[in-house]
Symmetry: C2
Subunit: 217 residues, 2 copies
DNA sequence: CCTACCGATCGGTAGG
DNA sequence: CCTACCGATCGGTAGG
């Protein structure tokens, strides 16, 4: 061990492996604490480097953060598109989406805040576009398919636009921050069931004509 | 003007007025940028003080932040309890809640993150309790009343627990960060309509038996 | 990829 | 409530 500084990852790092180590450490730290709360020295320490060494791989802290976010969005896109591509019914697709998306651990809200507040205009634009393509688009296509197949109401028949449904679903998934300690698995499951229940059936009792604007036919 | 530093508020500040000026400036800044992104010097500048002067009114930055959050929660509680107390039907109450709660400008998500990450255990406990009492409780009581009056389905009849409904509503209101520029008034209105529509009626088309677990009777 | 170091800024204190 | 100032830490650079 001629390193002396940190636990060098697996073994002797090859060519581009150091870069990926940095991104991995940065992802873990940024996603848990947010952009501002994580220092470049913490990231460097976590992969056994000195802080200035980071700048051989990334122009600055923001550039590293953008790479982290882009990779994260790409992972989400892969998962969501896979679910959207499956031909199962909408209810089942929704359950799979809820099971797949990180409820609180990835702290989606944190991510959106940082995109809005910590990046320059150019990076913000790129990330907003990536967010639309990776998260909104697959979810929108699930709802659109549901409408097309007649399983969901079209906007003209008392439904809502598919893209709006996608945003509302994402909001429900974010929850309201991690309230208290980590949610248990059964809590997550109950939450998932509740979301599906609301999105599909709403909460109105049968026969209750509470909303005069509602004319599904 | 013997001040020389900043626009001193209205006129010569009386006794406890300086303190309130500090809280007001802090609220504006904290709510827009988050705890870490706002420096004590910015707050002081905003009310025509030097930075050390803040410490004559608050023990430290965190204590000031806690006061800001507590006041904010109290404002929300007043509004929500007023809506919950009105005897109108659930649909109308939901619309009023959505109109009342700050959609993106107050950045609820930001607030929750800071509560979880920037405060010590004691303050975090106090704020979580205040959040439950000020936001969750009034919303829960609206949903509970709806169930009691037969307007909403009880959890045993395909509904969900009132507290869960409250959390889901808050999630939908947060949206997914401020996506892009400020939402326009008409966008807000469309969003409000969509939320009410989903919460009451869901999205399932009539006759579509997509969810085998659904037995409202 | 390291050592050494920069200017800037942070939250907070001393002392009046 | 101000001036003066503290130690700590930040992101980033010089130079090898």
């Amino acid at each position: 061990m001629a390193r002396g500084r940190g636990k060098s990852p697996p073994a002797a790092a090859g060519a581009g492996e150091t870069r990926q180590d940095i991104v991995s450490a940065a992802r873990r730290l940024f996603m848990e604490h947010g952009f501002r709360a994580v220092s470049t020295r913490q990231i460097a320490d976590d992969c056994g480097l000195t802080q200035p060494a980071l700048y051989r791989h990334f122009a600055d802290k923001r550039a590293l953060y953008e790479v982290v976010l882009m990779e994260e969005l790409d992972t989400m896109r892969a998962g969501l598109e896979r679910i959207a591509a499956r031909g199962t019914n909408v209810a089942e697709q929704l359950r799979q989406v809820i099971r797949f998306l990180p409820g609180a651990e990835h702290d989606l809200a944190q991510m959106f805040h940082d995109i809005s507040h910590e990046l320059d205009d150019a990076a913000r634009g790129r990330l907003q576009m990536a967010f639309e393509q990776s998260m909104v688009a697959p979810l929108t296509s699930i709802f659109a398919a549901g409408i097309r197949q007649g399983a969901l109401r079209a906007p003209e028949r008392g439904g809502i636009p598919p893209a709006t449904a996608a945003y509302l679903l994402l909001g429900m998934l974010q929850g309201t921050g991690r309230r208290g300690a980590r949610e248990s698995t059964t809590q997550k499951e109950q939450r998932a069931t509740a979301i599906v229940q609301v999105m599909l059936h709403g909460l109105l009792a049968p026969g209750a004509a509470d909303d005069p604007a509602y004319h599904p036919m």
